[in-house]
C-alpha cells in the first residue's frame, strides 16, 4: 500500500522535502511511521512532533492504502 506523507515547518526543513509517496509493507501504526520518518533527522525534540492521519491527530491509527499523513511540529499560529 502507499501513503502520502506531508512535512511541515521544521520537519520539512530537516527532511529537506515537503511531500513524498511511501510504499508500506504490512500493518503499521501512525506512531511507528512517525518514528520511521523522523529517524536520522536533526530535530531536537521529536516528541513535540505530532502525526495526523487524514487530518486526525491520533497516532494509534493503523494506516491504510491511500492515507494522507502529515508530520506537524509545534503549532505557532497567532
Amino acid at each position: 500500500m502507499t501513503v502520502t506523507i506531508k512535512y511541515f515547518g521544521l520537519v520539512a526543513e530537516a527532511a529537506e522535502k515537503f511531500e513524498e509517496v511511501m510504499e508500506l509493507h504490512g500493518a503499521i501504526t501512525a506512531s511507528e511511521l512517525k518514528t520511521q520518518c523522523l529517524n536520522g533527522l536533526a530535530i531536537a525534540d521529536k516528541d513535540s512532533v505530532q502525526i495526523a492521519v487524514n487530518q486526525n491527530l491520533d497516532d494509534t491509527i493503523t494506516l491504510k492504502d491511500g492515507d494522507e499523513v502529515a508530520l506537524l511540529p509545534p503549532f505557532a499560529g497567532g
Binding site: 511541515f8 515547518g9 495526523a52 502529515a70 506537524l72 511540529p73 505557532a76 497567532g78
Partner: protein, 147 residues
Amino acid sequence: MDKRKPKKVFIQGAIPPEKIATSVANHQSKSNIGAHSIFLGQIRADEVDGKTVTAIDYTAYEEMAENVFHQIREATFAKFDITCAHVYHSLGKVNVGELCLFVFTSSAHRKIAIEATNFLVEEIKAKVPVFGKEIFEDETHQWKVNK
C-alpha cells in the same frame, strides 16, 4: 447542527489595518449588536541571543487548518450567545509591527463578546496547524513555538 459554511481564514501576507475598520463598518446595520470584541496579533521584535526578529514567515497544513478553524468557530457559536465571529490569519511573510491575526466577535453585551474572542484566540493558538519561521535581521531563523 452545522449550519454555517466554512469561511476562508487565510490571507496572504499581513492583514491590512483597514480591514478592521471595514469589518466594523459592515456590522453597523446589525441593530441587535451592542458590543464588538477584537483581538489583533502583531509581530513582535523578539530578541534571541543578541539577534532581533524582523518578520515571521507563516506556513500551514492549509486543508486541516481551514477545517479546524471552522470547528473552533462552530464551538464558539455553541458556547457563547454571539451574533457574529470572524477570524483572519496571515500566511507568508509578515514584518514586525504588522498584523497576523484578526479575531472579531459581536454580541448584544460586552462580557459575552470578550469571552468569545478570548476562547477563539486560545483555541486557535492551541489547535490550528500553523507554523511560524522567525526571521532575524541577518537572514538566519528559528521556529516559533506558542507558549
